[in-house]
């Protein structure tokens, strides 16, 4: 019997409930931090799909984020359309981008895929930077208004917050469903052992294309929301660091663990803001992101690290008088 209310789902519900009531007790600055957090959640979940389930390390996920952001920004700038129309284009264009990235991958494996994602991101950035008539190049697009949905313009950030929260919830549910579906199981098989998977009749290429497309679309949606949050987009924001920070979030939460991604996003968005007051004593905020990667990798994928993790777990378990797995009879 499948447990519908397992630990992860409970945590998810707690987090969502907490965020649902947050606007009533926070000031605009804190609210803004939480909105950034929501966008990071969506973005990181899309990367987790690609990395954790699909098994493809991507250095260039910021590319899709930027395409989503620029699509809605440019459409607003040139035509004044509202978000409901832009949304459709965001899906189409980022989906197309995901498709474009995946198409050449038919003969390429593992390591090289990663390299291509990096180059892809650089090229997308270069295009945005130089395609002045459409994207205004380096100058960026200023003054993007709050979201307008079917003629109704959101007036406060609080409305934006709930709008984004809906996307977080939908993305989570969708991705959880996807993992359990046939596509999800195919992807995990490919990730674990692509040769065996192929031998079992799973066609590698179409599955790869689909996962790239879906992942791109979700990242694009996050990006489009970002444009409306910041009211300003410029090419410089969407750099390699954005991709690497996202990787940090995914890694901290656990590859393949979407609930972990939510927690990771909370952690890596809020902690730096909290540490802002210490910034002049401790100028090294970015070092934290780097150390997170090294430490988490060491904890989970090295022998001494795992030993450490297990002994800590045993310690806490004893503290809480719970039995650990190997103590159970």
């Amino acid at each position: 019997m499948k447990k519908y209310l397992d630990t992860r789902t409970i945590i998810f519900i707690i987090i969502m409930a907490g965020m649902a009531v947050a606007p009533f007790v926070t000031d605009p600055y804190q609210l803004r931090v939480l909105i950034s957090c929501e966008l990071n959640m969506i973005f990181a979940m899309s990367l987790n799909l690609l990395m954790g389930i699909g098994g493809t390390v991507s250095f260039g996920h910021a590319a899709f984020y930027s395409i989503g952001a620029y699509t809605t920004a440019c459409l607003w700038y040139h035509f004044g359309w509202d978000y409901s129309t832009n949304f459709i284009f965001v899906i189409l264009i980022t989906g197309l981008a995901g498709l474009l990235l995946a198409l050449p991958m038919s003969r390429i494996t593992g390591r090289y895929v990663t390299i291509i994602t990096l180059s892809f991101a650089e090229i997308v950035n270069l295009i945005i930077r130089n395609w002045d008539p459409v994207t205004l190049g380096q100058m960026g697009i200023v003054g993007i208004p709050n979201i307008t949905l079917f003629g109704y313009r959101f007036k406060t950030k609080i409305q934006f917050f709930y709008f984004a929260l809906i996307f977080v919830i939908l993305t989570y549910i969708f991705l959880k469903w996807l993992v359990e579906s046939k596509l999800g199981r195919n992807l995990q098989a490919m990730r674990d052992d692509s040769i065996a998977a192929e031998a079992m009749g799973i066609k590698l290429f179409p599955n790869k294309v689909i996962v790239f497309t879906i992942s791109a679309i979700i990242a694009g949606i996050a990006g489009s929301l970002y444009a409306h949050l910041m009211t300003y987009v410029e090419p410089a924001t969407f750099n390699a660091n954005l991709s690497f920070n996202c990787i940090s979030i995914v890694v901290v939460g656990g590859l393949g663990n979407f609930t972990g991604t939510l927690i990771g996003s909370l952690f890596l968005t809020i902690l730096p803001e909290y540490l802002r007051r210490f910034e002049f004593l401790f100028k090294y905020r970015m070092i934290a992101y780097g150390m997170v990667l090294v430490i988490v990798m060491w904890l989970n994928h090295s022998i001494p690290g795992l030993k450490l993790k297990q002994s800590v777990q045993k310690f806490f378990a004893r503290l809480l008088h719970r039995k650990t797995a190997d103590q159970e009879v």
């Binding site: 630990t7 804190q30 100058m139 200023v142 009211t231 410089a236 924001t237 809020i270 002049f280 806490f316």
Partner: protein, 418 residues
């Protein structure tokens, strides 16, 4: 176990989010009716500058200027003359990134403890400009002292201020000097790819066209780029008389050095952004005959300047000596900013609205580089002179302003600004 850990993490999150705020809760930062001063009668001012990132050196100098200004106020007995009425500066690092700047802006306007009277910063137009809407909507004065983007003042509603001549004016003047006064017709342009570089290039090219000159080459370089040899090789082929560089002070040093390597010989011109003492020092002999553009030379006998220099030496003796015993241009700007702010507060600007109303009336204020006035729309009225690095009798290289030129050459008229 997992449940426990996750709950622990989440409660930590909540604690941190709460800790993020500055004590204010739910719509903080409301307009205080009587005065922006806190319980002790002190005023808080937020300063957002790029202390890390490519413009960090500029931010450091601006901070020095602000601190010297504070020191002067302290010597004068603070705002009330009797040691009460302090001004307290809160520094934020926006890392020269518009996103960071926007987040900091939100934090500043939402903060009710401390309640900020105004915000000073940022340095780069590309950071100050996007934040303008945030400050405008929250009705907080934004003193972006170095912002030269032409749209900035109109976009900021009535709440933005700057001490810099706008890009359209500045670039047009440089073009006028180059083409009509120096008589150069074969000009190549190198500009940075940030919004400042793009705009100044545009205005320079426009003015050049108006004066009948088409640029031989217009080469853009990326932020952080250090290898200009391919750009310079290309320009060398076009045989220019003058190369105009809209770049930061670091970049002109590289450009000049690599031009030597590539064998490009011609005259060189920079905008006021790179007409600094750092450039003079770092270029050494290569800097001889470099043209620049600058506002009035510091009058070393002006009592305002003398007082400033003394306090500067008191606080920053080491830096002063390092910079060839002179104050640095951006520190001067910071000092001017602080002085004008103090003046505005003392003359009735005790609330945000009153402050901005008062500051907007600035006329002939005695600043370090001469009188400062805001024209219509709060545009800065400032003359700019052609400047050059010249060897004096002692054989030293120094920046010299050609202030007499304006007696016979009306640069604004030539540039089509009048």
């Amino acid at each position: 176990m997992k449940k426990f850990l996750s709950l622990l993490l989440i409660s930590m999150m909540i604690f941190m989010v709460a800790g993020c705020s500055n004590g204010g809760n739910g719509g903080g930062g409301e307009e205080k009716a009587e005065t922006a001063a806190d319980a002790n009668g002190d005023y808080h001012i937020a300063v957002s500058l790029p202390f890390t990132g490519t413009n960090a050196s500029y931010a450091e100098y601006i901070q020095m200027g602000l601190e010297v200004g504070l020191k002067k106020l302290e010597k004068d007995g603070w705002l009330n003359g009797d040691g009460t009425g302090k001004i307290i500066l809160d520094y934020f690092d926006d890392k020269n990134d518009a996103t960071e700047g926007a987040t900091i802006a939100e934090k500043i306007v939402a903060s009710s403890d401390p309640y900020y009277l105004l915000e000073i910063g940022s340095f780069a137009s590309g950071v100050s400009y996007p934040c303008a809407t945030i400050y405008r909507d929250a009705e907080v004065p934004q003193y972006a002292l170095t912002c030269s983007k032409s749209d900035f003042l109109p976009t900021s509603g009535d709440w933005g201020f700057s001490l810099s001549v706008t890009q359209d004016t500045a670039a047009a003047r440089v073009a006028a000097y180059d083409i009509e006064y120096l008589g150069k017709k074969n000009i190549a342009l190198i500009y940075s790819s940030d919004s400042w570089g793009l705009e100044t290039c545009k205005y320079y090219t426009e003015t050049a066209e108006k004066l009948g000159v088409t640029l031989l080459a217009s080469e853009k370089y990326e932020d952080g780029q250090q290898d200009f040899t391919s750009i310079l090789t290309k320009i060398k082929e076009t045989n220019p008389e003058l190369v105009m560089c809209f770049c930061a002070e670091n970049d002109i040093v590289l450009i000049r050095q690599q031009a030597e390597t590539v064998g490009l010989e011609c005259d060189w011109q920079v905008s006021s952004k790179s007409r600094t003492s750092n450039v003079l020092q770092n270029l050494g002999d290569l800097g001889e005959n470099l043209y620049g553009v600058y506002a009035r030379t510091k009058d070393l006998k002006d009592p305002v300047y003398i007082e400033y220099e003394e306090l500067y030496k008191e606080l920053y003796a080491a830096k002063f000596a390092e910079d060839n015993n002179t104050t640095q241009k951006y520190a001067d700007q910071g000092y001017n900013c602080m002085l004008t702010t103090i003046w505005a507060i003392k003359n009735g600007g005790t609330t945000r609205q009153a402050f901005r109303d008062q500051l907007a009336t600035l006329k002939d204020f005695p600043g370090v580089q001469g009188p400062i006035s805001f024209g219509p729309g709060r545009r800065v009225l400032q003359t700019q002179y052609l400047s050059q690095i010249v060897r004096n009798e002692a054989g030293e290289l120094k920046w010299v302003n050609y202030e007499d030129i304006l007696n016979t050459f009306d640069v604004d008229a030539v540039a089509g600004l009048k």
